[in-house]
Subunit: 333 residues, 2 copies
């Protein structure tokens, strides 16, 4: 099963130089006479030589690979984040090993240690509030880690986020200003919803502060997909809710469609705000008001931070908070 035919040794022989010189040429080292460089380059080209990144990784202790941990693959929220990471990673010539922790097949612990054993140069973790397992693993390793869209009060890891609490507070205020009296917060599963507890806390506080005391407890957890949202509407209706904030866009779409199917007028009788502004918010009718997170930027900034950490450069800020906004569309007045 030899995959590697041509090695640095072959090139050296053919070009009548040492391996070291070939290595220098390949790595762009300046200390090579120009005609030597040309000669080596010609041989490399002729033999179609490709350096073996594994051998290189072993010798140099740098793999030019970074690990990316996401909760789900088929979710536009993480896709958008990933795209930001990918673009910057490409710019810096890093490859991305992506691992999801959404299947019961893989335990988070195994996933992380597999990543670390592969000697990735860094890890970007964007799987919700940091689990104990992950926190322990990241504390133990010397591999740099950045948390993207993931708050963790207990660890010192660098983070890139928006102000989740403020965004929920603002959404609550928006609904209250529109005269809504009975609000609800619909969130996802504990292990698959970014910063769920921060949002829940903000919701309870903001509603209480605004005197909507019977809203403070109206938090519906464990809603995942479109169907979950659709089915949940029964309960929303039973509670006479007239305004809600839904963390996941597909769930929000399910709730809205259920309401529409039940003959409810959105936004006249029920206002909805999604906490994730993916394309879905724009596509649905009525289009949905949503908290617009700079997902791409969160990814890009995280990756940029990681490159600095990898190169032992100083970080301007350990914890970056990016601005969010609320895109007002037609599911609110």
């Amino acid at each position: 099963m030899e995959k590697q035919e041509i090695t640095i040794y072959d090139v050296a022989r053919e070009a009548k130089v040492s391996m070291a010189t070939v290595s220098r040429v390949v790595n762009g080292n300046k200390n090579v006479r120009d005609d030597t460089r040309q000669k080596v380059l010609a041989v490399i080209d002729r033999l179609n030589y490709q350096p073996n990144a594994v051998a290189r990784g072993l010798a140099s202790k740098r793999t030019t690979m970074i690990g990316l941990v996401v909760p789900e693959l088929n979710n536009l929220y993480f896709s958008e984040l990933s795209k930001g990471i990918d673009d910057i990673a490409t710019m810096y010539k890093y490859n991305i090993i992506i691992t999801s922790v959404d299947t019961s097949v893989n335990r988070e612990e195994d996933v992380i240690s597999a990543l670390l054993s592969k000697q990735v140069d860094g890890v970007i973790y964007m799987t919700n509030e940091l689990s104990t397992i992950a926190r322990d693993a990241f504390t133990r390793t010397r591999t740099p880690v950045v948390l993207a869209g993931t708050v963790d009060a207990e660890s010192k890891l660098p983070t890139v986020n928006i102000d989740y609490q403020a965004s929920i507070t603002e959404a609550v205020e928006l609904l209250a200003n529109n005269g809504r009296k009975k609000l609800a917060l619909v969130v996802g599963k504990e292990d698959a919803d970014i910063n769920r507890s921060y949002r829940m806390k903000a919701f309870a506080e903001a509603t209480t502060k605004l005197g909507l005391t019977d809203s403070a407890d109206l938090i519906f957890p464990n809603n995942f997909g479109y169907e979950d949202g659709y089915d949940l509407y029964e309960k929303i209706k039973a509670n006479n809710v007239d305004g809600m904030i839904v963390t996941r866009d597909v769930t929000a779409a399910g709730l809205m469609n259920a309401a529409l199917d039940a003959g409810v007028d959105v936004p006249a009788d029920l206002e909805i705000i999604s906490a994730n502004n993916t394309i879905i918010s724009k596509i649905v009718r009525p289009s949905m008001t949503a908290i617009k997170q700079p997902l791409y930027d969160i990814g890009a900034v995280s990756m940029r931070m990681l490159t600095k950490l990898i190169n032992n450069e100083e970080l301007d800020e350990e914890h970056v908070t990016l601005p969010y906004s609320i895109s007002k569309r037609n599911s609110t007045k």
Copy 2:
């Protein structure tokens, strides 16, 4: 920057055995006495030893990593495929290096050679009709390659697909049976739309065969996102189209919303079929009739095939064609 503290050598010393024995234990080799195994395992546990996958890869020529090439990251179509791949890969303990070729930043050639230089054990390619560059690279390498959702008439690479031509033909017939007279096909960019030319061919043939000769040329290319679809509606209207097939779901949603905003009755005046049945087809109102591809299965089967190729096992079929269906919803009669 030492990342690896504990090596196999440390374990060997502490357990008073040779490296070879530790290696055997780690790799589950049978030729180890049971008490030796226990002893080694205890030390491994105590020292928290993690084998260095890079060193292992260099020595064994297997990296337990596979490469995945996709055109875009933030597209539910590929997300769903990726999920199928990921689940099977996890099962077989492979990690996935994912690379997109959607940015102008990265040339396909570089992306592929970066992947191969990383000594991945195999590659799954799902970027549309195989480019010349990719075909050449894959012909040259010994690394196994599987094409997922990608037809290529010229190469001998294993593939997993649905019958794209038949699916379009069936969609055309559905619209024709509903009495539609002027059909259109809306496709994406050449390099970002799976098997575009097969679909175009099938569309032209099917419409001609059904006597809808002025539909045969009504193919609108280069439509990418939601806005593209929305803006394209002008032309659709100008051509008096009364039924259309749109390869990308977001584009279909854009077209439909534009039609609705223009006061058109969907499906009474205009019927729409999406060629990608992602969650978006279900969410939009009216919900959209869509060609339902077994995306998850295409991914899973591809990955399973790849594991066989990696292990030099016989393939049952070189070219797998999975069944599709048309999910009838409310954008057709």
